[in-house]
Subunit: 420 residues, 2 copies
């Protein structure tokens, strides 16, 4: 499956995202323009967008969400980049992670020098049940969806198998939620501005104010165990185990490594890329890991010439809390079955030895599906350049990783980044 090397290496010299959230008055086009402008604002040196050669856009379901297909040239039009070639990539929730890889290939191939990679999704304009149906098209519509599976159901099956196999408790998953909301609360672009502790405190204050009985939540774990605030969505997953429905976009600018200093004082070189596929979940060999993620990570490590121990900051695809735990094992940070204990022990917190989802992750930053992979790269841009503000990880990280999953893991794409 390829030689794990590229004819030339590629660097990121700018990255930015729109605010993530629910924006009834914004279309995909508006969100994309927001991200493009944020990307331009992130750059170190004056840059004329006319230098851009081509666009690669990740988007999952614009034809179903907005009744609009063929969005790549529309996005090019709205950021003033006609008549440049524009390609739309769809690999479910991995669409813009795969778009990054296609942008890398376009430069490594020698055809283009300056490539805009973006991701965008507009999801909040339809009822939740309908969004669930749209997301379902990322599964297998012959063998899975007709028998009643939804995405919470898929990941609930994985969580059940994982709990059975390794003895993990729901509390381990809730620790992921608590951590990611703590990080997200420090991210000004995130969908959720509050920590779970803050949500809990505010509900207690409201009850007090109204003279209602004050719930006996002594901490977040007790709060999350309360069926009234954290109902079961698909057992064992509850509301706070699920990422939200989100509108948003993200953009990054890629150039050849040997030209990176023309555009940036501190470029972020993409030193590894890996991608693999798998069957839909119903035909998968295991439910306690995502084999395509392991393969993608192996390829990326091989290309980068580093191992898991070198990775200082990571964004993983936590569409559900269980997905983060599994990812932390698939990427080689923790042994199979030990990811949940690492989460419990705080090892994946900002100040832990393996910080994961400092952005808030899909869970708290939000999950506009086709934009999530590109938004992970935006977090790398900020963390590796020491620009992540209050959520900056300690120790000036130099090497980071992103892990973007399509559906239940039928697609997985991994990238490794190094600040220069």
């Amino acid at each position: 499956m390829g030689k794990f090397r590229l004819a030339r290496r590629v660097a990121m010299v700018g990255a930015g995202m729109s605010s993530f959230g629910a924006f009834p008055r914004k279309t995909s086009r508006d969100l994309f323009v927001d991200a493009f402008e944020a990307m331009l604002a992130s750059m170190d040196k004056p840059f004329d967008p006319e230098q851009i050669d081509a666009l690669v856009i990740g988007n999952y379901g614009s034809e179903l969400f907005e009744n609009q297909g063929h969005i790549a040239p529309l996005m090019a039009d709205w950021v003033g980049l006609l008549p440049r070639p524009a390609v739309r990539i769809e690999d479910a929730c991995a669409s813009s992670g795969v778009a990054i890889r296609q942008g890398i290939l376009a430069i490594a191939a020698g055809l283009h020098d300056v490539v805009l990679v973006g991701g965008v999704e507009k999801m909040t304009n339809m009822p939740t049940e309908q969004v669930t149906d749209v997301l379902g098209t990322g599964g297998d519509m012959l063998y899975e969806i007709p028998v009643g599976f939804t995405f919470p159901g898929f990941y609930a099956a994985m969580a059940t198998a994982y709990g059975h196999e390794y003895g993990a408790s729901p509390e381990a998953l809730w620790r992921v939620a608590v951590k990611n909301h703590e990080n997200g609360a420090l991210n000004p672009k995130a969908q959720f501005p509050k920590t779970i502790r803050q949500v809990m405190d505010s509900r207690m204050a409201k009850a007090k104010e109204k003279g209602q009985p004050i719930p006996a939540w002594e901490d977040e774990m007790a709060f999350l165990q309360d069926d009234a605030v954290n109902p079961v969505i698909a057992w064992p997953l509850r509301l706070f185990d699920c990422s939200p429905i989100t509108d948003g976009a993200a953009c990054l600018l890629l150039v050849p490594e040997d030209r990176a200093r023309e555009f940036s004082d501190a470029p972020v070189v993409i030193i590894g890329t890996g991608q693999a596929s798998d069957s839909a979940l119903h035909d998968r060999a295991t439910l306690t890991g995502i084999p395509a993620a392991r393969l993608a990570a192996e390829q990326a490590y091989a290309m980068a010439g580093v191992g898991p121990e070198a990775i200082q900051v990571t964004e993983v695809h936590d569409c559900f809390t269980i997905a983060e735990v599994i990812a932390s094992e698939d990427l080689g940070f923790f042994a199979p079955g030990e990811g949940w204990q690492a989460a419990m022990a705080g090892r994946t917190a900002r100040d832990g030895d393996k910080p994961i989802n400092t952005s808030g992750g899909l869970k708290a930053k939000g999950h506009p599906v086709g934009a999530s992979g590109a938004a992970q790269a935006v977090e790398m841009w900020e963390q590796l350049r020491g620009e992540a503000g209050e959520r900056q990880t300690p120790g000036s990280p130099r090497i980071g990783m992103t892990h973007n999953v399509g559906a239940t893991g039928s697609t997985c794409v991994v990238h490794i980044y190094e600040r220069r």
Copy 2:
């Protein structure tokens, strides 16, 4: 917009397609398997599919046609190629033309050596009006579709402008239809097995048999002028000016040029690629040409180091007859306004000086939208290797071209091929 050169050149060493038509019992997966097997059967030397490194799949609207998104890994699964990376490209009807380009980039980048490029679409499982709505999502859903445009309407506007500007008559368009059906009748994979003359004769015979008055059609032009057999769809375009709704798939195998002889005795090198974008039609500077096609052709010619005079056989995107006439000008074969006269004079026939759509084109071979770009490359494979059977163009052509358009020309991708 790039440097019109690649780090290494890429060759096609196999190409095949499913039958095109309406296949109620086949899904996209089945069609793709048919195309994959045809591709394998087309190869000169023994080949183990395990050598394939990656897949790039063009598909326009599986989420709308079949309620199935994320088809790239499903296709990989069904042809036994898991866990290889699989990317789905969507650029409306140019999806698999763009997929070919992405396949080229993956090889030129040095990452992969053997890439399977495919295109697939399953369209005939819903009523025609609904298909028209699905195709409409390739236009602009904010500014075009809400005011009543459909795809026949878009191309009717172009035909009207072209006729007004250059004095072309509907007969010039019908000549395109007659020619393409003549070619398609010689293509065993084409949707329509009959020439328009054969359709006309069979209707006359039927009328005679039933003792009905025999229509006074002295030739195809009279037949196509008859409102009863060739009703207006969107004036001036009539039924026989429109490509059909089709199920189908096509596949090709790409390798680096310097390894091509390992796989083929007569590889077809892709010596030029070009792609450009434009606004949706409502905001376009001209209706009598497709600017993105001109730009894409310029890029491809520059890379190949040849001009229009070198092209011996061409497949163009004749979603409507007017589109073929305009393409023949955009590609530089004829001056603006002279394409219709060339069609009238038979210059684009199989034995003309610029044979176009020897496969039957989208018009007669069929137009499974996401597969059409890849199917054009299949025709190049057969024509340039002298394997096109009864529809082989004379003179053993060595250099050919494909022209694949997304929507009304918001995307256009052009490739130039040379047999070695």
